[in-house]
Symmetry: C2
Subunit: 356 residues, 2 copies
């Protein structure tokens, strides 16, 4: 698992996610220099590991603290999280993991199995209803043999039983601007295509399937990429061994790095274009209704959120950082009728489209 | 299953929930005669049955429609739903039901089993942060033998294999007024005590257990009553056969009717007392954060909501009617410190208390 480098992959990924976090946060801060900075917040996990949350929150309008005529920030709420954790997966978690990652042969172990996980996860909710919400996540996971009781310091690292990369990035607009969707998708397609022509179409389709809200019969947004279980073994969604794709640890890591680098150019230009566009209370109301749907997806279906909420010792504030500052629910809302701008968005959420 | 009356219980419950819905909606409309009326909305379920939603929504403040100086309604969002549905439970739903209702011996049936369900369900979110949110639900469920192929019109009704009543009522304040909690609990205790002294303490405890948010390590609110599986058989939470409690269908129905009648006196006086109390933007902010927790409970844990979202053909708008108009999430909020009014609420949510 050391790839072509002598540095263990764990360490390479940790450095990568830390640098990417800094790069992304600085890009947002440069975009809106008059807004408050992201709040950097390091934490330690009692069970093993640590992380850093970088969070943007609108100044609180409690009447006293902020005058309502103060200029408004481009972002409303955003979080860019890094976590590097390790510990022991208890048997029920191994069983859950086996169900979620069917291509990964994981042995049963009455004492559980040691794991290592490093990742970056971000959600950005801009204030202007013409600016889309964005989500991205890149992660590396390792499961190793249980430590031998007679192991001594300086002994070799325990054998890696399974490892994989996962991740993706997707866009959730309140109002559809086709050119923004095309820009977002073509930027990540370009990053994918260097590593194999099947990656973008395969993972774009997976994204459409994953971010679907069954009870609403609509997608959360206009998609992007979603993938998991990427390693040197057979991949259920890329079964053809002839198809060029990253296979070795260092090839897959290079792919992940290119996707990480594509985040800023895929999204920041959209914010630059839209953030100063005038908007009405009606458009704000529709945005808050869409944020309600975002909450529904994340709390009811999102695998990472559900896994996190069930994990003892998980850092709830970091897991639920993805939720918007404000969300709205109306009974039988009259918004979204055919022929309106709101209806135009619903149409693409009900029937996924190819953007490139 | 006809009790002492010749009218089938199905029909008696249907009449009861319809009348209770009307009584409750009229009580809210009388409290705030200048507010818009509840919107009455009947619907038919394609798979069998019907219902009526009575929903209150704040007038939309789209800038154009309402001047911001218009007087504000006491309620912000409320729904009082009745549904009377029937159909066939598919085998997976029977298995789920068997797991949720362990005291109910349900046979396996490859073609599923006919069911009938009638209930009233309400959630009221007032606007003023000093007014608590309230929830109540009363329901009757029947499972019958599959219809015989040679059955003819006019044949006897199919045999009832299982039946039970369930329900409850609970209060979710943003700010703690002990006298309101005492009033709410003592009103429902009085309704319970007529039917047996163990009912209130047993179902109060069940309520505290049910409305708990594990990932927040706090209760949704200050409790009330919660019960299920109430029929003539042994009850897991009331196992002692000596303890007086309602057992026959008509005894249990009388208990449910008394609880239903207790709703208006348990809650409306609290609204009368609090709705005109002045409040600050700070208090409104805290209320919206608490509504975020309400959303978390309902979407992640609530059995009825989860069951509803998974049920094909379910009426999503009625199921999610329980969600507040607006909810808020802050990362690492500074509200709720010890020694503040917000902290005082959190203390009782973290350690349940006896109110009577």
């Amino acid at each position: 698992m050391s790839g072509t480098s002598q540095v263990p992959m764990r360490q390479q990924v940790e450095e990568f996610v830390n640098n990417l976090q800094e790069e992304i946060v600085l890009a947002f801060e440069k975009l809106d220099p008059n807004a408050p900075q992201f709040k950097r917040d390091s934490w330690v996990r009692a069970e093993g590991g640590m992380g850093r949350s970088c969070v943007f929150a609108s100044p609180i309008d409690d009447g006293a603290t902020v005058s309502s005529s103060a200029p408004q920030s481009i972002l409303e709420k955003a979080g860019v999280n890094v976590s590097v954790v390790h510990g022991v997966l208890p048997p029920p978690a191994i069983r859950q993991m086996r169900a979620d990652h069917t291509s990964m042969p994981l042995p049963d172990s009455p004492d559980g199995l040691p794991f290592f996980a490093a990742g970056i996860s971000l959600v950005v909710h801009p204030r202007n209803p013409h600016c889309p919400t964005v989500h991205a996540n890149y992660r590396y996971f390792e499961i190793t043999e249980p430590k031998r009781d007679d192991a001594e310091p300086g002994d070799q690292q325990p054998k890696v039983l399974a490892w994989w990369f996962g991740g993706g990035s997707d866009l959730t607009p309140s109002y559809l601007y086709e050119e923004d969707a095309v820009h977002f998708h073509s930027t990540i397609q370009k990053a994918c295509d260097k590593h194999g022509p099947q990656l973008y179409p395969t993972f774009k389709k997976w994204c459409d399937e994953y971010f679907f809200i069954p009870h609403r019969k609509e997608s959360r947004g206009i998609g992007g990429l979603f993938f998991d279980d990427l390693n040197e073994g057979t991949h259920l969604r890329l079964p053809n061994p002839e198809v060029p794709r990253p296979r070795t640890p260092s090839e897959i890591f290079a792919f992940i790095q290119d996707l990480g680098k594509a985040f800023v150019p895929s999204y920041i230009p959209i914010l630059e274009l839209r953030h100063a566009q005038p908007y009405t209370p009606h458009e704000r109301r529709w945005q808050l209704l869409r944020r309600g749907r975002y909450v529904e997806f994340n709390l009811v279906y999102d695998r990472g959120t559900k896994f996190g909420l069930m994990t003892p010792g998980a850092r709830i504030e970091s897991i639920l950082m993805s939720l918007p500052e404000i969300a709205r629910w109306e009974y039988m809302s009259d918004l979204g009728e055919e022929g309106t701008e709101e209806g135009k968005l619903l149409a693409v959420l009900r029937e996924t489209r190819n953007w490139v």
